[in-house]
């Protein structure tokens, strides 16, 4: 448990010196999370492949060009991008041993994530009112599956983040909560990367 004291002194400097079992155990869990992210890359890859194959299959119905409202999508993009940055700042605060800063930046990240989900759900509801649903055509089935799967990931991340903030509030910054924050921050950056490809492949190519 040598690390519980480390955040207050020279933060992180000792990390390289002590290779106690606990530390190695936590770093293996971070590696395990990388493995999960890579399986998620493949999951999204199959959805992107499906979407790309079906990008003209609108069955004579509404086309993306008629339906997409770019201002909302652009807002979603910058909100998620900013939240990726703020989750990184939260990790920096954690390594300084600043528990309040860590929780504060996690709250900002979660609020940005919630705004993203709010905008996306509003976008989906507006689409349904315009007569576009997951059953309209192969194109829209692929669209709602791909974009919805990303939205679901963000929603799960939000619940996870709130639970983690409660745990940090109770236990403080320990090697275990440190590892958990590192992992959720990786997850959050990953979702931002996926969104960039959604923006490019779905929305930008859709309105071209």
């Amino acid at each position: 448990m040598a690390h519980t004291a480390a955040p207050h002194g020279g933060h992180g400097h000792n990390d390289h010196g002590h290779h106690d079992d606990h530390h190695d155990h936590e770093s293996i869990k971070i590696l395990g999370f990388w493995m999960f992210l890579i399986t998620d890359v493949i999951l999204f890859g199959t959805l992107f492949a499906t979407f790309s194959v079906l990008h003209n299959s609108t069955n004579g119905g509404p086309t993306p060009h008629e339906i997409f409202e770019m201002p909302g999508v652009i807002a979603e993009t910058f909100i998620l991008l900013t939240s990726s940055f703020t989750s990184g700042v939260a990790v920096l605060q954690m390594h300084k041993g600043n528990k309040k800063g860590l929780i504060g930046w996690l709250i900002i990240t979660a609020l940005l994530g919630a705004s993203f989900i709010y905008l996306e759900v509003s976008e989906f509801i507006a689409m349904v009112h315009e007569g576009v649903t997951i059953g309209t055509s192969a194109y829209w089935s692929a669209f709602f599956t791909l974009v919805g799967t990303h939205g679901l990931h963000v929603s799960v991340g939000l619940i996870w983040m709130v639970a983690l903030m409660i745990q940090i509030g109770k236990r403080g910054i320990t090697p275990v909560t440190k590892r958990k924050v590192s992992i959720i921050s990786l997850y959050w950056h990953f979702l931002d990367v996926v969104w960039i490809f959604v923006l490019t492949v779905v929305y930008l190519m859709g309105v071209m």
Binding site: H13, A49, S84, V91, H189
Partner: protein, 110 residues
């Protein structure tokens, strides 16, 4: 607080968790790499094929920026199993996406 670069172990120059500077650089680059394709597409500045290539390159660059500046890919301890797994994942990703598009593009012929 001491300068992180002066510690004696010397096997890596940076802290393994990045600095505010690297996050800010990554954030600014990400914003630029997001605005450029938006401007090009929304103003119809290029023909279809150059636009497609341009926006895909911007997305891939942004992926690289986030991997290095936010996810600290280079700062992992060796051996970097996560990098190896990531490369493997990307190979599968490209195979699935490009393979599907390729096969289905010729599917109409019958």
């Amino acid at each position: 607080m001491a300068n992180p670069n002066t510690h004696g172990h010397g096997h890596d120059e940076h802290e393994s968790h990045g600095s505010l500077k690297s996050y800010v650089i990554g954030f600014v680059l990400s914003i630029v790499l997001t605005i450029l394709p938006l401007v090009v597409v929304l103003n119809d500045m290029m023909d279809r094929t150059p636009t497609l290539i341009f926006i895909l390159i911007m997305a891939i660059l942004q992926f690289v920026v986030q991997l290095f500046f936010f996810m600290h890919l280079r700062e992992e301890k060796k051996p970097r199993y996560n990098v190896m797994a990531l490369i493997f994942g990307i190979v599968i990703l490209i195979t699935v996406v490009a393979g599907s598009i390729w096969i289905m593009a010729y599917n109409q012929v019958g």
